[in-house]
Amino acid sequence: MGIKAEVEEAEVKEAGPLILLVDRNLRNLQLLERFLGNAGFLTRPAPDLTALDAAIAEAADGGINLALVDLSGFDSLIWERCRLLRDIGVPFLLLSPRQTDTLQRQSIDHGAMRVMIKPLVSGDLINILKLLLKTDLN
């Protein structure tokens, strides 16, 4: 590895893990970016399927450590993208306003690590992300 590559890698590590935020609600996206940014995470927003596809295409070479996917406002095509995330090795959490048997089954089928019910408690979310990413941002 060259000196430049080593420096770039070090900068990424210092900047913290990158989390892909998938949410059609722009206000939700803003808040997630703010809360996770304050906690030391890097974020990349994806407010629609096009942006999500672009993020998945780039993530195939690595870079995204985890994805938060808010199912609200998406149709069944979102499950396809979930499968793609799983296939490229990006772990993801699903966000939903309610828990149902169908959702539970679908989330397992498509490889979600877990389903979190909105509204989230910011402290809990940060702790789960740290645990999943095995990151000490302090």
Binding site: L26, R27, L95, P97, P119, V121, S122
Partner: protein, 483 residues
């Protein structure tokens, strides 16, 4: 919340409330103002800040619901000048509703609390206010994830303000869904406002480290803001005076009562309608005025024009003495005043105008006209106050029976009366054997002196009140008087 001396007080901006609080709020403490919508919480808070601004103290209104423009408009409508008061509006702006998307990823408690707290801290540190209002703190309940967190937040917030040398009023809107019992333990005092039917009251239920006047006090919203009429506490008022005998101005009547009624005592004149009670009252009142001592007659029943006409017909110089401002006749309109307001009016006559005699004409009119409360307790307090101040009181009490035996008073006033004069109609035969209706006067109580124990005829003539010879016998009938 801190150990500021209870002797130092900050005016609440409402005179009557200051009296209830023993001079005002103890500085650098936090007080809960609770009450339903429209009970006057915001008005009280604005007056509290107005008093601070008038005193050169920095004053800040933190609103978690109404906007600054709304508050300014409401204050203007209540006649409260808000210049010099800093407003910090932390409620949602109108754009909150028009925004296409609202969030649901986190609870409002998670999202809003931080920025709101930050703005408050920043504003307090910048302005360093001596007086702070938070209207309403109930809104903070929705910024907490659970009751325990809410309590901690409010307590911490109030401590922050008190440690910043601020005196704080915080309002609460309690409901059955969101009671505010928890808030009541956090503050140093509680002021409860109530608007029930057409009556408003203010009650202080807690004032840490200080005494206060308990009970419900009358509250009024006027074009000059809030006015509070503190309940009269007779023992807080006292003057030195001598028990002079005060003449009625009619020698024969004075002779029946050992020269007159004593200063600072209570006299009840009791009798049926039209027997001459008011004439006797004005006889005493004008005698007081003629001595140069202001007499004030509260007329609950009769209009001034009728009073003047009747007194002119009996040569009682009411008009002249009124023109000289030695006699005042106050017509009390029905159902306008509460007992506390009426007592305040009487106090002003005594303490500001120097009234030495007060007449209530009549007790049944008082009972009908003055709204709310047990009137006999209020009358007791009022007459006790007047007696302590050396003011002579005459109460007119109308009885129902025209002739014959009756109670000494109908209004349960015997126990507080030092003198009771009973006027009665009597049925008697004239020289031709015809039945006639005459009048008789009977002094049935005179606590401080001897009295004429004879029942005497009296009459009201064009030259005034005339006391006649003793009644020797009544017509034997079922209306027979019981001696």
């Amino acid at each position: 919340m801190t150990s500021k001396s209870p002797d130092l007080r900050l005016s609440s901006g409402v005179e009557g409330l200051d009296q209830i609080l023993g001079g005002g709020f103890i500085p650098e403490r936090a007080y809960l103002v609770k009450g339903g919508p429209g009970s006057g919480k915001t008005t009280l808070c604005l007056q509290f800040l107005r008093a601070g601004a008038d005193n050169g103290e920095k004053s800040m209104f933190i609103s978690l619901s109404e906007t600054e423009d709304q508050l300014r408009d409401n204050a203007a409508a209540m006649g409260i000048n808000v210049s010099g008061i800093e407003f910090l509006h932390l409620g949602p702006a109108s754009t909150f509703f028009t925004e296409v998307e609202t969030y649901d990823i986190f609870s409002p408690a998670e999202v809003e609390r931080g920025p709101i707290t930050g703005q408050i801290v920043s504003a307090v540190e910048r302005l360093q206010p001596r007086r702070v209002v938070i209207d309403t703190i109930t809104q903070m309940r929705y910024l907490a994830s659970d009751p325990a967190q809410y309590r901690r937040q409010v307590l911490s917030f109030l401590r922050f303000l008190s440690e910043s040398a601020s005196t704080v009023l915080y309002t609460s809107e309690a409901s059955s869904e969101a009671p505010d019992e928890d808030l009541q333990y956090l503050g140093d005092g509680i002021i409860e406002l109530k608007a029930l039917n057409d009556r408003r009251t203010l009650c202080v239920t807690k004032l840490r480290g200080s005494d206060f006047r308990p009970g419900k006090h009358t509250l009024k919203m006027t074009g000059r803001g809030m006015e509070v009429y503190a309940r009269l506490v007779p023992d807080e008022h006292r003057r030195n005076f001598s028990l002079d005998r005060l003449s009625s101005g009619v020698d024969s009547l004075d002779a029946m009562i050992a020269g007159g009624i004593e200063r600072g005592t209570v006299t009840t004149i009791s009798g049926p309608s039209g027997v001459g009670k008011s004439t006797m009252v004005y006889q005493f009142a004008t005698a007081s005025a003629e001595r140069g001592e202001l007499a004030v007659v509260y007329s609950f029943d009769e209009e001034l024009s009728l009073i003047l006409a009747r007194c002119e017909g009996t040569s009682i110089p009411v008009r002249r003495l009124m023109e000289q401002d030695l006699l005042r006749i106050e017509k009390v309109e029905p159902l306008i005043l509460t007992p506390d307001e009426f007592a305040m009016n009487v106090r002003r006559q005594v303490e500001e105008s120097g009234a030495r005699m007060v007449v209530l004409d009549s007790i049944s009119g008082y009972r009908i006209s003055i709204r709310g409360g047990d009137y006999i307790i209020r009358i007791h307090a009022l007459t006790k106050y007047l007696s302590n101040m050396g003011v002579t009181v005459i109460i007119v009490d109308e009885t129902n029976r025209l002739t014959g035996a009756s109670y000494a008073t109908e209004g349960r006033l015997s126990y507080l009366s030092d003198t009771i004069m009973l006027l009665r109609y009597i049925e008697e035969r004239n020289g031709e054997g015809h039945l006639e209706m005459g009048r008789a006067l009977w002094i049935i109580k005179k606590r401080l002196s001897e009295m004429d124990r004879l029942i005497r005829k009296f009459s009201v003539t064009r030259s005034g009140l005339e006391i006649g010879p003793p009644v020797t016998r009544f017509l034997r009938s079922r209306h027979e008087m019981i001696p």
